[in-house]
Symmetry: C2
Subunit: 517 residues, 2 copies
């Protein structure tokens, strides 16, 4: 990686202190298999949390605690023995679950292709009782199952004083309450969305506090947009931008994600759309903060991404696709990404153009204008099927939601044409659908952008509202109402159930509902 130490030093200086608070469990629960429940599991109440203190546990016995809401933090509890003096170590297993499935399904049967090391569990030995166990790792959870793997025949244990010290860099006092006239369902969605964002806001904007626990630029862009209307943080967004800008891949590309520890370093993953979103993130940040110093500092990095983005254009001005994981757009193996990528390039060129204008960088502004013309013209020629009145992508002329959504966001057509496009699409939906809240966000945003507000609210309620009905405490990384165990990783156990890119209902509500009413 190429390091601009001045930027990294500034990023490190902006590392926030975290707000902490203590949370106690609310109740004792048991996980119950229920085919009517989300993913086949629900939690049944066993008793109040206070009842824990009168219970004892021996070999193979366990208790599951419900903290009542999604938390990100550090857990501690007291353990003492009951009976004879403990004559053997205590072996405990702890399992943390954001969702009931993680408590219900044994981790050792996990066969997904992401590392099983993401599954939140600990096996620990306690040699001396009584003691207070303070686990050093941070967990993302609502439920914790404490199981006695083994003690001895001579003693049982009591568990008391279970505590979670939550952490976030989000200043909740900055969030303005919604006015009374906002409907209850949107208020609830807003609350859950804000909690999602809050739990992802740590020393960087993490994608998910359970997984991957790091800064991805695709997530950052949506988080920052939601943040500007809620927590109003600017320092941590700035830190994130400086981390991306300060550590680029060898040819100047902005990486898809960065790690903070042991020292900041950029991942070797590069994604076409994600690198271009650096421009969009910078644009949004400047719009929200008017921080001209940051704009001037990061502009060369942003411009470089636009230059690299256009290098992928073939002689006809169309993006060259390939078979690798070169562009994200959505978790969908069937999705052809050529047209959506062309649209992302156009979307970010337009934002770059406005930044160049702000900076009075006339030469680059002209270069960008030229690119916009080339990219737009090629897009119309290659991706617009005037007969069917929709966008196609790739050699097989695939019709996907992603192509229509991104071309709309890129404003290739006049907005009234985009509105008609959506009318047609809702009559005859594209064959290739949407899998992630991330893609749904852009779908909803596209509809707002072309004046289809009613349909946007309807679809927001249908998608995020269904997550609420399915019991979301925070919004999920993956959600397909027709396939609720969907996971691109081979197992719903490994999905993140508090995921940054799902936090945008609060953005829509605060941006579009409040301004309309």
């Amino acid at each position: 990686m190429t390091v601009n130490q001045t930027l990294i030093d500034e990023a490190e200086r902006l590392t926030p202190d975290l707000y902490e608070s203590k949370v106690l469990p609310k109740r004792l629960v048991e996980v119950i298999a229920d085919s009517n429940a989300f993913q086949g599991w629900r939690m049944g109440t066993v008793g109040d949390y206070e009842e824990l203190h009168s219970k004892t546990f021996g070999k193979n016995e366990s208790v599951t605690l419900d903290f009542g809401d999604h938390l990100v933090g550090y857990i501690s509890f007291a353990v003492e023995s009951v009976g004879s003096p403990p004559d053997a170590p205590l072996k405990l297993k702890l399992i943390f679950g954001e969702m009931p499935c993680e408590i219900g399904e044994p981790f050792d049967q996990y066969e997904g292709w992401l590392s099983s090391s993401w599954l939140q569990e600990e096996t620990l030995f306690v040699d001396v009782l009584p003691t207070v166990v303070r686990l050093p790792r941070r967990y993302s959870f609502r439920y914790v199952k404490i199981q006695v793997v083994d003690a001895s025949r001579k003693y049982r244990i009591q568990v008391t004083d279970v505590r979670c010290t939550t952490v976030t860099s989000a200043d909740v006092s900055k969030v303005e309450p919604l006015p009374d006239h906002v409907p209850e369902d949107l208020k609830m969605m807003d609350r859950i969305a804000i909690k999602t964002l809050q739990d992802c806001m740590q020393t960087v904007y993490e994608d998910g506090p359970k997984r991957d626990r790091r800064l991805w630029i695709g997530d950052l862009r949506l988080q920052a947009q939601a943040n500007y209307l809620t927590f109003r943080d600017r320092d941590v967004v700035k830190r994130c931008l400086y981390l991306f800008g300060g550590m680029t891949l060898p040819d100047g590309k902005v990486g898809a994600c960065v790690f903070e520890k042991p020292a900041p370093h950029v991942d070797d993953t590069w994604l076409y759309d994600y690198s271009l979103f650096f421009v969009a993130c910078l644009y949004d940040y400047y719009e929200a903060t008017l921080d001209r110093e940051a704009l001037e500092t990061l502009w060369p990095v942003a411009l470089k991404q636009l230059k690299l983005g256009t290098e992928r254009l073939g002689s006809l001005g169309v993006i060259v696709e390939d078979s690798t994981w070169w562009c994200f757009i959505d978790w969908n193996d069937d999705l052809n990404k050529q047209a959506p990528a062309q649209a992302v390039l156009l979307y970010t060129l337009k934002r770059g153009q406005r930044l160049a204008r702000t900076l009075k960088d006339l030469q680059e502004e002209q270069w960008i204008a030229d690119q916009i013309e080339i990219v737009s013209k090629a897009a119309m020629e290659h991706f617009w099927d005037s007969e069917r009145g929709l966008f196609v992508s790739g050699e097989d002329k695939q019709v996907s939601w992603a192509s229509q959504v991104w071309m709309t966001l890129a404003e290739l057509l006049p907005q009234e044409e985009n509105a008609k496009l959506f009318d047609r699409l809702h009559t005859e939906p594209p064959q290739i659908g949407m899998n992630t809240p991330y893609m749904y966000h852009h779908y909803i945003e596209a509809m707002f952008s072309c004046g289809k507000e009613e349909k946007a609210w309807e679809q927001l309620r249908a998608y995020w509202g269904e997550m609420v009905a399915d019991g979301a405490d925070t919004f999920w990384e993956l959600y397909n109402p027709k396939d609720k165990k969907l996971s691109p990783y081979g197992s719903n156990l490994i999905n993140s159930y508090c995921h940054a890119w799902s936090c945008t209902p609060t953005y829509f509500i605060r941006k579009y509902w409040l301004s309309a009413s």
Copy 2:
């Protein structure tokens, strides 16, 4: 428990600082199933330790390190990633083995009746690489298997700088080398015995550093005897005596074992023979140290054990047996303990008598003399089968080695009669044999006491020598040459392979070989 805080304060004041040293692994090994090897497993060399540094490990891959000798201490190692930046936590499993069986046989199939929490393993997650892992628990081991349970597809790991910081309270500089004329096999046995004792000598004389990691009085007695001829410690023995003496069970009984942490406390286990051995331990300590202050302080506790011991005598002067775990003698469910217990009472009364004499406690000396007469007379009447010329025990008149051995140690018969007894026994061995090195120790000691030196050396070599041939780095808790997987706990995995009560070959060699030559 009843606490004499003055004694406990003195015990705590005597807590030793531990000697530390750094030990590096010697080689990389693999465990190989081999029906000719002890317990069916042997270690094959894979490479030098230095070769570890050029190896990398991914999911489900592992390495087993051989430190070349039995160690007790704390382990640390460095881990770094190779490949892409680590994009998922590293999940490691560590398994520690005193013996190859612990590396060869999966712990999750353990079904013994002692707690599986004694099996030395750790499952740990490393969130940030590179790092140095320092495990906080103490292990007793020669082998450690480090297994990558999961990492991710993007990186592998390298393990370097594996270190064990060993701990002991034994001052090895105090051990005098054996003279040249001592045969090589005895020298080897002496070395292994001393290492066994050394690894058990911590802040108390532990029974076994793997299990139970605490102070048992039966082990203490033999350890202290070996110690007086090797490490010449007096403070830690004294600390142990003060712990036992300072915390008694409600009726004044000395408990069978005590725990040090979180604060000293006595276990609720009481054993008839073990409580009486408090007298024997004090006798041996005074003989070795002439510490009259300690003798005066602890004499009331010792005398109390003798009084309690005689309370178990029935009207005929014979110990009343019962079906509970009331007396240890040996790990043998078939063993009737009535006669051996009577002998232990007699053995300890005689030592108590000498202590009373030293203290000029004439009244108690007379009381003890009376008891010796009663107990001896009853023993001859009830346990001596003059027709067969041996001792029997219990209603079924069981003939066991234990009865003969303990009656000999108690010197009920004149020593020339005991010598003849052993001649008869070696022609026609008792039906009930011996299972533990603890019982074998008393068997060998009994032969030395009655002048059967030649047979004693022969049997010492046959038993401990066979352990050496079977690969002992330290001597084992359990050993039956005819049943090498013998375990009173249902699995040889849980046996302790460095056990205090097995350390006495050095005692025999230094007490009897050196004095004879």
